[in-house]
């Protein structure tokens, strides 16, 4: 087995508020091998974006460690971190909010080149930008336009070109297609997959859309209220989900076919608050398979089938 390019160990991120401590990410561990894609799925507020941001240290982790190519990056100084970030880039969800409205397309894509002293301003700089534009399928005529003049799909292409400018090894995509219409979404997904293949990129793909993550990922991790509840290879997770939450999530996807419908699991009960959660399974209140054992602390992620990890009290006695 090759060594993973990214390893996350016991990552925690807490936010301290007037009402208590929000456990946004609580003891999350996983690793990603070079060239592979890990999909992180979950609903709003489950901490999936916070995981992405904490890995890149856009947010300082409360605890735990992140190793990139064997190097612990959680304690790196600012200067060292900037250098490391060349290898790790992010594509953001909302292409209109993550692009500076006062910069032209060329300037946005070129900025990381200048910051990292990869090229100097001049003919070579422009050439590099134009090359990136054609890589992501942006017509050259947009070089001097501003993001607001372009539609959502083209804006997201700018975001991708900017992330690729520094030739990263790892890309974290945080809901890169959620703001786009289906026909445009498919264009961007194809582009991301082609680029990944050509450049041998490693990806973390964060999304709430299960059909997208299924299409894109080698392995999928399901998050619920700050914790990983299940992790398995893509096909395995969809064919053989074990955690009650994953089962409910998969059954809730509306399928665009007129044929027979899956039996739907409708969740009831309230969502546990992520503020100072009690020491029990966080899904307990909504779980349709709960037993008394579910109150005995938070379940650990355990390997149930080779490569298939589940955090559920019921599995530990299986």
């Amino acid at each position: 087995m090759s060594t993973p390019i990214l390893e996350v160990r016991n990552l925690r991120k807490y936010f301290y508020t007037n009402r208590g401590t929000v456990h946004a990410v609580d003891d999350v561990s996983f690793s990603v091998e070079k060239g592979h894609t890990l999909g992180i799925v979950g609903e709003s507020g489950c901490g999936k974006s916070t995981v992405g941001r904490t890995i890149l240290r856009l947010l300082q982790p409360t605890g735990g460690e992140v190793f990139f190519n064997g190097e612990n990056i959680t304690q790196l100084s600012k200067a060292r971190l900037r250098e490391r970030r060349k290898d790790m880039q992010m594509i953001f969800q909302d292409p209109s909010a993550s692009l500076d409205p006062r910069m032209t397309v060329g300037q946005i894509i070129g900025e990381p080149l200048l910051i990292n002293n990869l090229v100097r301003r001049g003919a070579e700089y422009e050439k590099a930008i134009r090359k990136l534009m054609s890589t992501v399928g942006l017509a050259q005529r947009w070089y001097n336009t501003y993001p607001h003049q372009l539609d959502g799909g083209r804006r997201q292409r700018i975001g991708i070109a900017r992330a690729l400018a520094v030739e990263p090894k790892l890309i974290i995509c945080d809901e890169p297609v959620s703001a786009l219409d289906v026909s445009i979404q498919a264009q961007i997904l194809n582009l991301l997959m082609d680029l990944q293949e050509e450049m041998g990129l490693t990806c973390i793909f964060i999304t709430h859309d299960l059909s997208v993550v299924h299409h894109f990922s080698d392995e999928i991790a399901v998050m619920y209220l700050g914790r990983l509840v299940e992790k398995a290879p893509s096909e395995e997770l969809f064919e053989n989900p074990i955690h009650p939450y994953t089962k409910a999530l998969l059954s809730a996807i509306p399928i665009p076919e007129t044929a027979e419908k899956n039996q739907r699991i409708i969740l009831e009960g309230e969502v546990t608050s992520p503020i100072d959660p009690p020491a029990e399974c966080r899904f307990k209140k909504r779980c349709y398979e709960k037993t008394d054992a579910c109150e005995n602390g938070e379940p650990e992620l355990t390997e149930v089938v080779p490569g298939h990890f589940v955090a559920c009290h019921r599995c530990q006695y299986m």
Binding site: L210, P254, V271
Partner: protein, 334 residues
């Protein structure tokens, strides 16, 4: 009245233009929709197709200062374009009501949720405040919120609960026609499943007709019996769920289906529609979809399209069907 009593909603040749500083935006270009009692019609399309404008026009809520609405909208045989303000107020919420997309902005932040539901009941049923509030609390229970929470303000509720309140308002007076504009787009999948289930149950119980506006073909398959596909202000395909999904005719509908990642069959590449939707202030001549269409011929760029009925219920707006034997790929492989 107009001899069309079998339809509870009839939209005839609806055109909506917005006069903006960028020029005339042609949002809806002469569409026709009919709905019978109990029917659920899915209006599908991408951003800018004109779905929401159609919904707003059905309630005569297109802002009059900028929007120019032409055509007829008959609710129970009466043309709402000719109604007085008084008649309009009586109709809205009673004959036809709407669930808005974003529950965060559809509710009034300074009124309790109970008051907001009771308001519609008071107006339409002419009951006193107290009775209206009791009825509002009953409605809350129907949508699965405890009646004690009637005193809560919207910010005290989660997103899913807010959307239930919006639904409770729309359903409070047992409306005949429910227009749901992307009612679950702002919600998580597990919450979406709850809300769709709620809408389905309610429809079964009260036989409400529904116009479901969505971009999600999965939701259409789930709740609708008829489908209208909109593109750049036109309905390009219209038929029963089975016809549109299993005997697809229009190249755009085909493109929508092949853009979706298939959860049962994981193929490496998707088949997106090339290009993007045209700017509605600069619609191309001829067929509006021709620039993105794999089947377009020279003629498609010049001739205006006509609605063509392939069966009694299945309409397509594509001139290629003039040629005998013309078929799109999706139809062939099925």
């Amino acid at each position: 009245m107009n001899g069309s009593n079998e339809y509870i909603l009839e939209i005839k040749n609806l055109t909506v233009n917005y006069d903006t500083e960028y020029g005339l935006v042609r949002a809806v270009n002469g569409i026709n929709i009919v709905m019978r009692e109990q029917e659920a019609l899915g209006l599908v399309g991408e951003t800018g197709a004109g779905k929401t404008t159609t919904a707003l026009a059905s309630l005569r809520m297109v802002p009059e200062a900028v929007g120019k609405v032409e055509g007829q909208i008959l609710v129970g045989g009466k043309n709402i374009m000719e109604m007085s303000d008084r008649e309009l107020e009586n109709m809205r919420g009673k004959n036809i009501s709407m669930i808005f997309q974003d529950p965060m902005t559809a509710l009034n932040p300074v009124l309790t949720i109970g008051r907001q539901i009771a308001e519609s009941i008071q107006i339409h049923e002419h009951v006193d405040k107290k009775t209206a509030m009791e009825r509002a609390k009953d409605m809350l229970e129907i949508v699965g919120i405890h009646r004690d929470r009637a005193q809560d303000y919207p910010h005290q509720l989660s997103g899913g609960m807010k959307q239930r309140v919006v639904i409770a308002i729309a359903l409070a007076c047992h409306t005949q026609i429910l227009i749901a504009d992307e009612p679950t787009t702002a919600l998580d999948v597990t919450i979406q499943a709850q809300v769709l289930e709620l809408i389905k149950e309610y429809r079964n119980k009260y036989k409400t007709a529904m116009l479901m506006i969505t971009h999600d073909l999965g939701i259409v398959a789930e709740v609708c019996d008829k489908v209208a596909v909109m593109y750049a202000g036109n309905i390009v395909e219209y038929g029963t769920l089975d016809e549109v999904f299993n005997h697809t005719l229009h190249p755009y509908t085909e493109g929508l289906f092949s853009s979706l990642p298939n959860i049962k069959n994981r193929t490496k590449r998707l088949n997106p529609i090339p290009g993007a939707m045209p700017d509605p202030s600069k619609l191309p001549e001829g067929c509006v979809f021709a620039p993105r269409c794999a089947y377009a011929t020279q003629a498609c760029f010049q001739t205006d399209q006509e609605n063509r009925f392939i069966t009694d219920t299945h309409m397509v707006r594509c001139s290629r069907y003039q040629e005998s034997g013309f078929k799109i790929n999706r139809g062939n492989t099925k």
